[in-house]
């Protein structure tokens, strides 16, 4: 398969970015999107070495930087905005699980980073998502010391509750929800953590406080508010439901009521 790739290039956080277009051919339809980018990078490095190609103006910015790691949809590192959608045109996948068979041969594909004021660009398609770590540091945990735990079976958790908690806990922290939301809100991310813990008896003692502190941190870090457009739920690679936002709101209101 052949493609034209229109890719966002940006040297660092301070300089202005721009699109560059590259042509790539001979891609297997079973290749993943990131494997295709690997091949493009090999090509760009080789062309950078070839004086004739450079004269032709083949490349100027070197290989494209992009975050990736596990390549099996679980680490949450990959974060590409492809043809106007977080993680591209397939539903409920991360970018690394997107395959070229989902594109038409000869298509022009636009690739951008996840854009949000809270996610500054580091280089090309790589963004800084450390704001997510900071939100979780504000309360996304249960305060238990190592060694202080009772027997695991002493806390009974109904099967359905454990499953619901797991649905929320499946969040990979990629930031697709933020990149997709017109307000740049991180509500789905926050809700996934708050809800996952609030559904378990161990998480109840700190549930309200956790919701309040994490939401406050989210607002402080420049994420927007939630206006229930449900776009986040549509684009979440793990299909996390906005029902969890409702649960977050309940916990949040409880906390405010207590104040």
């Amino acid at each position: 398969m052949d493609f034209n790739l229109k890719i966002w290039r940006q040297k660092n956080a301070h300089e202005k970015g721009h699109f560059e277009t590259y042509h790539i051919s001979g891609i297997e339809e079973d290749a993943s999107f990131l494997e295709m980018l690997d091949i493009l990078n090999e090509q760009l490095i080789r062309e950078g070495n070839d004086p004739v190609a450079v004269e032709r103006g083949c490349q100027s910015s070197g290989p494209v930087s992009f975050d990736h790691d596990c390549r099996e949809g679980i680490c949450g590192a990959c974060s590409l905005y492809i043809d106007g959608r977080a993680h591209g045109p397939d539903d409920h996948v991360t970018t690394c699980q997107l395959f070229m068979r989902h594109f038409k041969d000869g298509a022009t594909i636009t690739v951008e980073p996840f854009r949000s004021p809270a996610f500054p660009i580091i280089k090309d398609l790589v963004v800084d998502r450390s704001a997510f770590d900071k939100i979780l540091q504000a309360g996304g945990f249960i305060s238990v010391r190592t060694g202080a735990a009772q027997d695991g079976n002493a806390i009974l958790i109904p099967h359905e509750d454990a499953e619901k908690s797991m649905d929320a806990a499946a969040c990979v922290g990629c930031g697709a929800c933020v990149a997709t939301c017109k307000n740049g809100s991180a509500m789905l991310f926050v809700a996934a953590r708050v809800s996952s813990l609030a559904l378990l008896p161990q998480g109840r003692p700190e549930a309200a406080r956790r919701a309040k502190n994490m939401v406050a941190k989210m607002e402080e870090l420049g994420f927007g508010g939630c206006t229930n457009t449900r776009a986040c739920e549509m684009e979440c690679p793990k299909g996390i439901s906005i029902d969890h936002i409702a649960r977050l709101n309940r916990e949040f209101l409880k906390a405010k009521f207590r104040d």
């Binding site: 790691d69 450390s130 540091q137 996304g140 109904p158």
Partner: protein, 648 residues
Amino acid sequence: MADKLISKIPDGPLAEKWTKRKSELRLVNPNNRRKLEIIVVGTGLGGASAAASLGELGYNVKVFCISDSPRRAHSIAAQGGINAAKNYQNDNDAVYRLFYDTIKGGDYRSREANVYRLAEVSAAIIDQCVAQGVPFAREYGGYLANRSFGGVQVSRTFYARGQTGQQLLLGAYAALNRQVAAGTVTSYPRHEMLDLVIVNGQAKGIIARNLVTGKLERFGAHAVVIATGGYGNTYFLSTNAMNSNGSAAWQCYKKGAYFANPCFAQIHPTCIPVHGEQQCKLTLMSESLRNDGRIWVPKKMEDVMKLRKKEIKPSQIPEEDRDYYLERRYPAFGNLVPRDVASRAAKERCDAGYGVNETGLAVFLDFSDAIKRLGHQRVQERYGNLFDMYFKINNVSPWEEPMMIYPAIHYTMGGIWVDYDLQTTIPGLYAIGEANFSDHGGNRLGASALMQGLADGYFVLPVTIADYLSNKFAEPKTDINDPAFDEAEKAVQARIDKLFSIKGKKTVDSLHKKLGNIMWEYVGMARSEEGLKKAIEEIKELKKEFYEDVCVPGDQYQFNQELEKALRLEDFFEIGELMARDALNRNESCGGHFRIESQTEEGEAKRDDANYMYVAAWEYKGEDKEPELHKEPLKYEFIEVKTRNYKE
């Protein structure tokens, strides 16, 4: 310097060793812990749990990872589960049995005392994780659920769907975040350790490259903990994450830490087969699938040919024409034999010509019986996300046709040599989790990596490291302007400058791929003296090619992924060479290490206890010099050493 290999295993009965050691270990009082600094490199299960627990104790911890967040460490990708000797199933499980299974699964090449301790603390890990809010699978009554894994006859594996590693890591990461908020831990994401700094013979700090600015930075401490995982990516294609690497551990080796059993690499039987030249990563399908999936190839060659030409579908092959070869060869354990056994059996069938895809390198993993027996709903609950994942990658639904699988490199049992306290041969340097060598011998059982990472990080290291630190609190903070830091930084800078100066034509990945081919061919599932010697020569040649013709674009002072890869590949060349050297030395078949010279008439692995019942610990002797082999004899005082038998 063989006297460096003092394992510090306490005397006395097996079940009392850990208690005894704990009672001997010195303590640091809470007020003095504040004065002590510890560096933890890596934030997988081992690193995150250690950093969090040390922070809770009141130490000043600096934790480093190469990804943008500690949560992305590769432990996140572990699917199937975590073992613990809880005996919740009343199937006669016990600490002793978990210990026994692990020693036997490791083919009698691990330490009795370490493995027993691992089994002993396993139950507390589950309790800890539940308390942190890890949503383990539950029965309808609310009790914890279990499943079974390879190499055992009990159900002791706890799980959170097919995302157990993710959930356990999020638990440890949450504990870590709590400490970051409390101010005891400082987190340094996007930092890569490039050297260990030794002052007066003790580990005192690291040189790390800030991956965003490209600057080299110095960090000092009273002790350094390496938790950077394994070196499976030496093979280029593996189930490891793309950025997983052996470099931090390797720098420790080059600074004097012995490296143990490097040739013990695990080849996992259930991975998605290689699909073409453009592939860079292999995907694991969880071992838990072997609980209910049955592995087979056709009995008739004509069916094989038709499958390859896509003239028939696997589901059309009648039951009597299928060879469930694991059930045939190993009736007692069937599809749940250990990984090394299952991998070799797949290779045997494919070598005999029965491989079921175009490349001839694939076998079937079939769920049709399970779906009939358990129904759609229960199979969905157990494996739904794995089926989805398989479908996304292959465009074939495991609900309709069997999965195609083939073995791939997955885990490395070898690693930095450590004593019972997890201290390396360098005072003040500790290694935990997959980065050390200690618990899995020649082969790791499924669902035991998570157990070991968390055992080391939550329960072992925080206790043992106090013994070393107990007399350090009066010492001043490590001075990062010490000449040892200057020297280390200069050496790293020289390495980087050299890479940029080559200005060759070959990409880093293209050379890494070549290394991977050499490793898979000669240091893979079947190894021979001739092949291993060839591997050592070919790696040397390839290394030469790298230093003459590699191209590292860009410059140092920017986010530069090609530079990161080039630095790691330099180390992979050397790791690969040491793996081959160790495999050459170990002229026996044991665990994942199969020497074709050492097999039974039936083609089963043949161990040589008389000559090789030892840990091979290698000492670095300098550039272009042969490393020196030290042997730590393995003594089995409490169990009888037997030939592994999964047939009856």
